[in-house]
């Protein structure tokens, strides 16, 4: 068996993942990146998006919201504000959230309200990431 790396996903409401995996793919600041065993020490901010990891033939994916990740000593840690497994996501709800966010975004943009625009933008991204995570699963 190939060498593995320890993956930990920690959120404010507890650890979501804590196991040995083969490869991790995550939405980094400058684009998606993959991490294999014995990666060099590395620190990156994380955008809202899709985190996938593989254990042999099993493929798992999670929706994660912003935070950062750290790689050191063959261990990768994600500190994110929320993380949900694709299979646990309610697609209907995510679709509704997406529509809501789009409406709010259009509204805020029309009024030139930067603060609410940024909030709606983030909500939209979260909804999109959820839908994506749910579809793959």
């Amino acid at each position: 068996m190939a060498q593995q790396i320890h993956l930990e996903v920690v959120t404010p409401s507890g650890a979501v993942v804590n196991e040995e995996v083969d490869i991790v793919n995550a939405p980094g600041y400058g684009g998606d990146f993959g991490v294999l065993a014995n990666h060099a020490p590395f620190l990156s901010t994380i955008k809202i998006g899709l985190l996938t990891y593989e254990q042999g033939k099993d493929r798992h994916n999670l929706m994660i919201s912003g935070g950062f990740s750290e790689v050191s000593n063959n261990k990768i840690t994600f500190l994110v504000e929320s993380a949900e497994f694709g299979k646990e996501i309610n697609v209907d709800r995510a679709m509704k959230a997406k529509e809501r966010a789009e409406k709010r975004l259009a509204q805020a943009a029309a009024q030139g309200d930067n603060f609410n625009q940024a909030r709606a933008e983030a909500a939209l991204q979260r909804a999109l990431a959820r839908i994506k995570a749910a579809k793959i699963a």
Binding site: V10, T11, S13, F115
Partner: protein, 291 residues
């Protein structure tokens, strides 16, 4: 002398009160377990976050970050976090007392004070000062990270546009089930977290690949750090509230028991007096008939 019926009614009433307070005690202890569990789950996140923050802020220069900017303090903002509900002894009152003390202290130095109230009880007690800038009510019963984020964003926006130069958070620190202490924590400007292990660790950190630069990572992490501070304070208040309510309700139940035993004594005395009185009447009547 109260009548027998009056005393009996009172005993029944007090017993009912004791029933309610002891039920509240049990509810509070169940909720305390939940709150402590929530706190326990948050700890790994907070620990790792603080660790990463201190690693990053060790070398950087602090002037580059607007959230770390140290200004001449003219306007102080105090985020006061209490529970939404009362009946928990002096817990909320103690936090409000500290808030008032802080306000007087700052005003004596000629500074302007504003409050941000989280929790109904803070708002109720502080609104008469007329210094409440904004309030977040009815969220303490079941709050999530996004509640904390909303508060942190609001406070940070106010700091960044220059309306406040310094922000403190006041909350009830959960020391143990028996002890909850009101504490004040500095929130803004963010002060670099002290390194604990010193140079050896820094060297190791130096080998990291950063994406993007450390400065940009800090830009992302600092607002998250504020969320951590607020969320942590809210968790502490949540647990403290239930612990304080447990103690208060336990005391109330005991007080009820004391009152019941006192009243029972009064009742028995009154009953005995009535019996004696009746006996005297009967004996008196019998004597009169004999004569």
């Amino acid at each position: 002398m109260p009548s027998l019926k009056d005393v009996q009614d009172k005993i029944v009433g007090v017993k009912k009160t004791a029933q309610i307070t002891s039920a509240m005690n049990m509810v509070a202890s169940a909720k305390l377990r939940g709150a402590q569990d929530k706190m326990e789950k948050f700890r790994p996140y907070a620990d790792k976050f603080n660790e990463a923050m201190s690693n990053l802020s060790g070398g950087g220069n602090t002037d580059a970050f607007p959230l770390m900017e140290v200004r001449d303090v003219k306007n102080v903002e105090i985020v006061v976090i209490t529970s939404d509900r009362g009946l928990c002894g002096s817990f909320n009152a103690n936090i409000v007392k500290l808030a008032n003390a802080k306000m007087r202290e700052y005003e004596a130095e000629g500074k302007n004070v504003n409050f941000v109230c989280v929790g109904k009880k803070a708002n109720q007690s502080l609104k008469k000062t007329g210094k409440v800038r904004t309030r977040f009510l009815d969220i303490m019963a079941d709050f999530q990270m996004f509640n904390a984020r909303e508060i942190a964003q609001d406070v940070a926006t106010n700091f960044l546009n220059g309306s406040s130069d310094k922000v403190e958070v006041l909350y009830g620190h959960f020391q143990s089930v028996a002890v909850q202490r009101p504490v004040a924590q500095d929130m803004l400007p963010i002060t670099p977290i002290e390194e604990e292990d010193g140079a050896a660790e820094k060297q190791e950190i130096g080998d990291y690949i950063y994406e993007p630069s450390t400065e940009e990572i800090m830009d992302v992490m600092q607002p998250l750090y504020l969320n951590v501070i607020i969320y942590n304070a809210m968790l502490q208040v949540g647990a403290s509230e239930h612990a304080a309510r447990m103690t208060a309700m336990d005391n109330a139940t005991n007080a009820c028991k004391d009152i019941v035993s006192d009243l029972t004594l009064v009742y028995n005395k009154a009953r005995q007096a009535a019996v004696t009185g009746e006996l005297m009447d009967i004996v008196g009547g019998a004597e009169a008939l004999k004569g």
